[in-house]
């Protein structure tokens, strides 16, 4: 059977198959990865923003506390009983205790560069300076008239309960070199005597550097970098050291926060309190450091209920930082996506390849099945044709035979006396020939039918068949003296009809060839030959010469003259075909004059069983 043409599995076909599997999943995977990235990016942004807020919060709290503390300190000093007593006595000698008090205070607090008491005339009355770790009282000769200074003027105007805060600046003290350590905030509180008259003010110069240090320490604690900017947008603590230093005096020309980040500064300067906003991609977080209640600033004198911020604590996360982080995130996500897509591609290819192979196999099977069905149909139609052919052959061939035989006989009977013995002999031969031809036709038909039919597989009782056939034979020739020995338990599986024909032929042969025996004996049974079980039909008839045994089963082959024993020579050929069809084999053994035995085994030992017929 020719193999049907099915196209092979090519790379292209696999690719075409793989694409519809791969593309949708790849699309979904990309979307998922993108979503993951976006979510993570947003989350990280939020985390950063929250971190900045926390940073600013901590810094703010710290600064606000510091301011509150120094405010309290100013009040504390202002209400010093020693001071009040000195004011009562106005004795120059009683300045000592105050000095001692101021010194002690300065030492303990360690926050102030100067602690002064200024009289209403604007002249320093008591002064303690902080010199490299020690509080030193300043000699009366060194006391100055500072009435011209803004701080002093503002301070002397204070009402009870008010505290003056100067701006955060780097104004160096006269006589002192300008240095970053000179950042200071001056806090002043009014002094009233027992009678409630204002007698002057105390003013403390807070070492603002400490505040700056606190803000700086935020970064060392891992919270990040925060900066301080004054109310005009100038750096108090900035990203580079230069921003905070003595260049302050130059108002940070062109480099102040307000100038560098004008858009952001605009928003910050407008607001109070805390906030976070995005300006041009940069994230700004800020807190306005409020002055405590009762504070009055150096810029404007406002009512105590409204405190304008003196400084802004802020952080700025530039867009580039986000960008850098995003890039990293994108890289990792893209890598993950590529890995996934690669895996998907491989998987799709694998599935597609197998799918292609499987569908090819299925198509092959289908094509083969179709071919098989066609072949089957062809075979069946051939079989049917053969059957109708056999039928008409048998019928149509027989009719003329009947005529030949009939009229020969009629001739013999009706005109016998006009025909001599030779003539009668001829007529007899004619009749015999017709008879034989009839038998031949029958036998050939049987043989043909054996090949055509489908082999059934039923249990067959050979003993029963044997008995039936032997009974028929007896009935045909009742005068024959034959002994039939049929074993009782001969069972097998196969086609009952065909096996009957085979057995008929074998027993008929035995019957024929024992015709001359006075005491004929036909035996049908089973025996064991080696490892297998075989059936046999044995007779004690004429037998045959084993030298010609190979001709036994040929069609029309006979080992005896027809004058000795009748027969068409087809019987054994039929038996062989039937036995072969069952997957078995048949053979015969004999001795001339002593009888013959035919053995047959069904199923097993026959490679030709697979070949039809």
């Amino acid at each position: 059977m020719v193999q049907p043409e099915i196209e092979t599995v090519t790379a292209k076909s696999v690719l075409l198959r793989a694409l519809p599997i791969f593309l949708p999943i790849a699309l979904v995977a990309t979307c998922v990865v993108y979503l993951l990235y976006a979510t993570q990016e947003a989350a990280t942004r939020r985390v950063i923003a929250a971190g900045q807020k926390q940073l600013v919060e901590v810094g703010y709290t710290s600064l606000a506390n510091s301011l509150a503390v120094i405010g309290n300190d100013a009040e504390f000093i202002a209400q010093d009983p020693f001071l009040k007593r000195w004011l009562e006595s106005r004795d120059d000698r009683s300045v000592e205790p105050i000095l001692a008090q101021f010194q002690s205070f300065a030492r303990h607090r360690g926050l102030y560069e100067q602690i002064r008491f200024i009289g209403l005339d604007g002249v320093e009355a008591v002064r303690v300076d902080w010199n490299s770790g020690a509080a030193a009282a300043v000699a009366p000769e060194a006391l100055r008239d500072v009435s011209g200074e803004n701080d002093i003027r503002q301070g002397l105007k204070l009402e009870p309960g008010e505290i003056y805060f100067s701006a955060f600046d780097f104004r160096p003290e006269p006589g002192r070199p300008a240095a970053p350590q000179n950042a200071s905030i001056r806090v002043a509180a009014p002094v009233f005597d027992a009678a409630g008259h204002k007698r002057g003010m105390v003013i403390l110069s807070y070492l603002a550097e400490r505040a700056l240090d606190r803000v700086r320490s935020l970064s060392t604690r891992g919270l990040g970098q925060a900066w301080l900017v004054d109310s005009k947008g100038r750096w108090l603590l900035g990203p580079s050291a230069a921003d905070a230093a003595g260049s302050f005096a130059a108002a940070q020309e062109g480099r102040s926060f307000a100038e560098l980040h004008a858009q952001a500064w605009e928003q910050i300067a407008r607001s109070t309190g805390k906030g976070q906003f995005d300006a041009g991609g940069d994230l700004h977080t800020y807190a306005a450091v409020e002055l405590p209640d009762g504070a009055v600033t150096g810029e404007n004198i406002l009512s105590s209920t409204h405190a304008a911020p003196g400084v802004f604590l802020l952080t700025r996360t530039p867009a580039t930082a986000f960008a850098a982080f995003s890039r990293g995130l994108i890289r990792s996500h893209v890598a993950a996506l590529l890995g996934t897509l690669l895996l998907l591609a491989a998987l799709s290819g694998f599935i597609a390849h197998h799918g292609a192979r499987r569908s090819r196999a299925e198509r092959l099977v289908r094509a083969l099945n179709q071919r098989l069905a066609k072949d089957n149909a062809a075979l069946q139609s051939v079989n049917r044709e053969l059957e109708s052919f056999s039928y008409s052959v048998s019928h149509d061939l027989r009719a003329p035979l009947r005529s030949i035989d009939g009229f020969s006989q009629a001739l013999l009977e009706d005109y016998g006396d006009t025909v001599d013995s030779t003539g009668r002999d001829y007529l007899l031969r004619v009749r015999g020939a017709a008879q034989r031809m009839g038998n031949l036709i029958d036998d050939l038909l049987k043989l043909a039918r054996v090949s055509q039919s489908e082999l059934r597989d039923d249990p067959v009782d050979l003993s029963l068949l044997g008995r039936k056939i032997s009974a028929e034979l007896r009935q045909r020739d009742p005068q024959r003296n034959i002994d039939f020995v049929i074993a009782p338990d001969l069972q097998t599986r196969g086609d009952g009809r065909l096996l009957q024909i085979a057995l008929e032929n074998l027993l008929d042969n035995a019957w024929k060839f024992t015709a001359r025996q006075p005491a004929g004996r036909i035996e049908f049974g089973k025996a064991r030959q080696g490892s297998e079980e075989v059936f046999f039909v044995r007779d004690n008839g004429a037998g045959f010469d084993m030298a010609h045994a190979d001709k036994l089963f040929g069609v029309f082959q006979r080992l005896h003259a027809v004058t000795e024993f009748e027969g068409t020579g087809i019987g054994l050929a039929t038996v062989q075909r039937i036995v072969y069809k069952h997957g078995g084999r048949v053979w015969g053994e004999a001795e001339k004059g002593r009888g013959a035995v035919f053995f047959f085994a069904l199923r097993g030992g026959n490679d030709e069983a697979d070949i039809a017929g």
């Binding site: 003329p400 009947r402 005529s403 035989d405 009229f407 020969s408 017709a434 008879q435």
Partner: protein, 142 residues
């Protein structure tokens, strides 16, 4: 005595059958129909046998392979008609096909005999037929 209807298309078989009956002293008239149409014409007194005298035959010997209308169809029609339903029909044919036998009996033939090649056997068959159907069998008077 009633006639015998022999429905046979083969002229040789016809001659042999008639001879066999003669040899066996069967004296009934034997009407021969050579195809299905003639057979039915005779039975129902139509066509070529229109207006014939006499009633039904004693027995019908029917071959299966007939031209025009074949044997089984003739049998069907014989059995289908009230007038002829009870006539004994013997199928006398050379066919050994199982299906013909089954079909014939299904349609209601009374006997199925195969024509043997051997003329002796044929004679014997004819004699037996004659014995049985003509002498022994009780057929309906109709």
């Amino acid at each position: 005595m009633k006639p015998i209807l022999l429905v046979e298309d083969n002229p040789d078989d016809e001659v042999l059958t008639l001879r066999a009956f003669r040899k066996n002293n069967i004296k009934n008239d034997i009407i021969v129909a050579r195809d299905g149409v003639q057979a039915l014409d005779f039975l129902f007194a139509t066509g070529s046998h229109a207006g014939r005298e006499g009633g039904n035959p004693q027995v019908i010997l029917l071959d299966l392979k007939l031209p025009l209308i074949d044997g089984l169809e003739v049998l069907r029609r014989i059995r289908a008609d009230e007038r002829t339903r009870l006539i004994p029909v013997v199928i006398l044919t050379s066919s050994r096909e199982e299906r013909d036998l089954v079909e014939s009996y299904s349609l209601g033939c009374n006997s199925y005999v195969r024509k043997p090649v051997n003329f002796d056997e044929f004679m014997e068959a004819a004699r037996q037929l004659g014995m049985y159907w003509l002498l022994l069998n009780e057929a309906s008077e109709r």
